[in-house]
């Protein structure tokens, strides 16, 4: 099982396979028997009421949350308790958090360079070039020397996206990336995410931005009470959801 990790010629295999996933917090079932496959290059939007387990699901994918039962295979590596597997998976999985979680004591460019330098072992100059290139891509390179506390929320979130991209991940996970932002800053972050999607990045986004979902998602996955209730292509899902729960949910978020 572990031997498959070294060589991974199965590029046509799915990026992420989640099978019969169960996650409990005490006696509470956060996830009960979730199955999800993410193809390479696919963009999935996860939505659902709060507490439905969507954040928990993507946090399980890079093992920030440890699952109790079931199987998660990321890029051909199964997530077990083996620390080497976990770290190697995390290198390939970029994550963007609701609360940015930039490192406040490091400048913007240092935030982006830390992991490539220390985890990937990149030389200084290369890490710097890569960081500046990606900061330019998210249009924040002129703030490279500032510290996170000196930036607006939208700018911080774009730095967080650049920081994750500096590891050159194969898949990006977004955990409600715009929920903590002031309304006028949502757009700049979503634009960055759309660009990323257009570049062909595999993405799993927990978001309630339905405009973004319509524009970018290949598939919308609707969760409730720890299970996937419905999935489908965005136009069908938003126009005519199959289930009553999805209908209720959509009515609530489209004020």
């Amino acid at each position: 099982m572990q031997q498959e990790r070294a060589v991974n010629p199965y590029d046509r295999f799915p990026m992420v396979i989640v099978e019969h996933l169960i996650k409990r917090f005490g006696s509470f079932n956060a996830l009960s028997d979730v199955n999800l496959t993410v193809a390479r290059g696919e963009k999935i939007v996860l939505c659902g009421p709060s507490g439905s387990g969507k954040s928990t699901l993507i946090r399980c994918i890079n093992h920030i949350e440890k699952h109790d039962y079931g199987r998660i295979v990321v890029d051909g590596v199964e997530l077990t308790d083996r620390i080497r597997d976990i770290n190697s998976v995390r290198c390939e999985v970029g994550m963007v958090f609701q609360s940015f979680n930039l490192f406040p004591h490091l400048s913007v460019v240092e935030n982006c360079m830390l992991a490539p330098l220390k985890v990937r072992g990149l030389p200084q100059s290369e890490a710097l070039d890569r960081a500046m290139a990606l900061l330019r891509k998210v249009r924040i390179h002129d703030q490279a020397k500032k510290y996170p506390a000196q930036l607006s929320g939208g700018q911080q979130q774009r730095v967080a996206i650049a920081r994750a991209l500096c590891m050159q991940p194969k898949i990006m996970l977004f955990d409600e990336p715009t929920s903590a932002l002031d309304p006028e800053m949502v757009k700049e972050v979503l634009e960055t995410m759309v660009e990323l999607a257009n570049d062909g990045m595999t993405m799993v986004c927990v978001t309630h931005e339905m405009g973004f979902a319509r524009e970018v998602a290949d598939r919308v996955v609707f969760m409730d009470c720890g299970s996937i209730v419905e999935e489908g292509d965005p136009s069908t899902f938003f126009r005519a959801p199959n289930t009553e729960r999805a209908r209720v949910f959509l009515n609530q978020i489209v004020h």
Binding site: M95, E110, L114, A115, V119, K146, Y147
Partner: protein, 263 residues
């Protein structure tokens, strides 16, 4: 009032030289003791926060033992009791260490271990005060536990506790006075000696008091300077505004040494 300090003693020195020699020993104990305590304190403090119950328990045990025994008792334990517990050859060797080193090392060791236990608790509090998102973000980037502590947790936690470490700095040099009980001729011991020799109790201890107060002020000011020097730009309430100039060397040498300044 302090004129008596300039008078000659029986051994040809002046009383003020006694005081200065005592001050020297006080500073030596406090300075070296501080660095040893800081090193041990950080390690034990980290131990208090790791998931391993073995290291966690060990660190807890250390803190409880050294924090809860009075310094004076600890001083006696290291000086009088330890040589008796060791194999007699070793105990005799320790007892024959010539003065002042025979008192200095037990005193140094005692003050270091005691202060380390207190620092460890500060370090633990600093680490636990960090938002959970910090280690999570580090983990998501593939940083190992070691790298997370080294580059994310400790640099932030240590900055956070600079103000509370100030009182530990002041604590350790005040506690050096306990070393007089095992024969260390530090500041308080010299003051007592002057008082005994001249019967000028008020002068002798007045001078010592002033010196201790001055040291406290210096320690306080130094810690304030350190606090300001390691402050994260943009986080100071109302002091440094957004958009200040950061020197260009940061771009040339990312991950600057400023994380280490706190040590």
């Amino acid at each position: 009032m302090f004129g008596v300090l300039l008078e000659k003693t029986m051994d040809g020195q002046r009383y003020i030289d006694w005081l200065l020699s005592g001050l020297g020993w006080t500073l030596a104990l406090a300075f070296f003791g501080w660095w040893i305590a800081f090193a041990i304190g950080v390690v034990v403090g980290i131990g208090r926060t790791v998931r391993s119950s073995f290291f966690g328990g060990l660190a807890r045990l250390y803190v409880e033992i050294f924090r809860n025994i009075p310094v004076l008792v600890q001083m006696f334990l290291w000086y009088f009791v330890l040589p008796e517990l060791l194999p007699s050859a070793m105990g005799d060797w320790i007892k024959q260490i010539p003065p002042p080193w025979g008192s200095f090392f037990p005193a140094l060791w005692c003050l270091s271990l005691y202060t380390a236990a207190r620092i460890a608790e500060q370090v633990r509090a600093g680490i636990e005060a960090l938002p959970k998102g910090q280690p999570e973000a580090a983990a998501a980037l593939g940083l190992s536990r070691y790298l997370t502590y080294r580059h994310i947790i400790l640099p932030q936690a240590l900055r956070l506790i600079v103000p509370s470490l100030t009182s530990e700095v002041m604590g350790i040099y005040k506690n050096t006075s306990v070393a007089l009980t095992i024969g260390m001729m530090e500041l308080t011991a010299q003051a007592r000696q002057i008082s005994d020799a001249t019967f000028q109790t008020f002068t002798a201890f007045g001078a010592a008091t002033l010196i201790y107060l001055t040291l406290a002020l210096i320690a306080y000011q130094t810690m304030m300077l350190i606090d300001r020097a390691v402050r994260i730009p943009g986080t100071a309430p109302g002091r440094e505004a957004v958009g200040l100039d950061i020197d260009d060397s940061i771009l040339e040498s990312p991950l600057p040494g400023n994380m280490e300044v706190v040590k």
